[in-house]
Symmetry: C2
């Protein structure tokens, strides 16, 4: 239900939808993913109930805001599936995931929440699909432990993104932590 405009939408509704997204993007960037929804509505120049009408939950709003980023990640995953080295492809993608999560404040929290949820989540499904394909290929190539699940992998990667969100030297930190994790993922050469 956080999918596109569905079908026919009144012109003012479309405009409000877009304005809310723009306002939310700015608010999340400035104040983090806990930014007050009333603030966002006010920035967008709409009533608070209108925000709620378009986005029933905060999670829905977060996913919509980060939709471009997530779609970019999915596209990148698709390209990487054609890369020569399955393990390097997976590694590259995970780095991109954390990079996105670090750049776009709130994306990490958004993903983490989506991973955990039981409910319908377009965001989770998309990310899971991308990660699954890359992981499976790396495992079939014998480059990554066969007992690692997509869920575990994403949880860990997002945990890193979360853990470093407020760090002063974010980029440096992310690189090192991710290297640690990726080393742990490697299948031991001696079976």
């Amino acid at each position: 239900m956080t999918r596109p405009p569905a079908r026919p939408m009144r012109a003012d509704a479309v405009r409000n939808y877009e304005r809310i997204l723009t306002a939310a993007r700015a608010a999340f960037a400035e104040q983090g993913s806990q930014a007050p929804l009333d603030d966002i509505a006010q920035r967008a120049g709409v009533g608070n109930a209108t925000l709620y009408r378009h986005f029933p939950t905060r999670q829905a709003l977060l996913e919509a805001v980060h939709r471009d980023h997530i779609e970019a990640l999915c596209r990148q995953a698709k390209e990487l599936l054609a890369a020569p080295s399955p393990s390097e492809a997976l590694m590259s993608w995970l780095k991109a995931v954390v990079a996105q999560g670090s750049t776009a404040r709130g994306l990490a929290a958004s993903l983490m929440a989506a991973i955990g949820t039981q409910e319908e989540s377009w965001c989770r499904d998309a990310v899971f699909a991308s990660a699954s394909a890359l992981l499976a290929r790396a495992q079939q190539a014998g480059a990554v432990r066969p007992d690692v699940t997509v869920r575990q992998l994403l949880k860990l990667v997002n945990a890193i993104a979360l853990a470093t969100e407020t760090e002063p030297d974010r980029d440096e930190q992310v690189g090192r932590l991710l290297d640690l994790l990726l080393d742990g993922l490697r299948a031991t050469s001696t079976s």
Copy 2:
């Protein structure tokens, strides 16, 4: 300031202090670390302002509630410093940290918040001291990468605890994720 009773405390104040702790422990266990403070005050049979008087912030209350657990972890760290294998000592301790974080709901979040904070935190100092000693010993023994910092280590470990907090098969998950991390921490034998 989350330290012990300081100095002379009126009898009823001491009793209230204890009752709040007991109530908070139960509330955090049932509802997680976001349990309403008003609920806790009501359970304890005190005014909400009394809770606030004893514990100025939620963080202070969380630390006080988990004080026993944290002290247990510190004691264990001290013992493990005398263990024959520095690397196994570190590994054991980290497992204990996650186990505590998983058992006592809210502890993981509490620690994570403490690690990140700039402010005075008895909790953070104690855990940092324990972790530092064990990590340094393992690094000096050449068993763990020399470029891993205490901060990174604790962030990762707590991220695992956080990431698995709501998992159905928690114990299983924790074990596997921690193994992955610990493998990554190992110094490569070929220098």
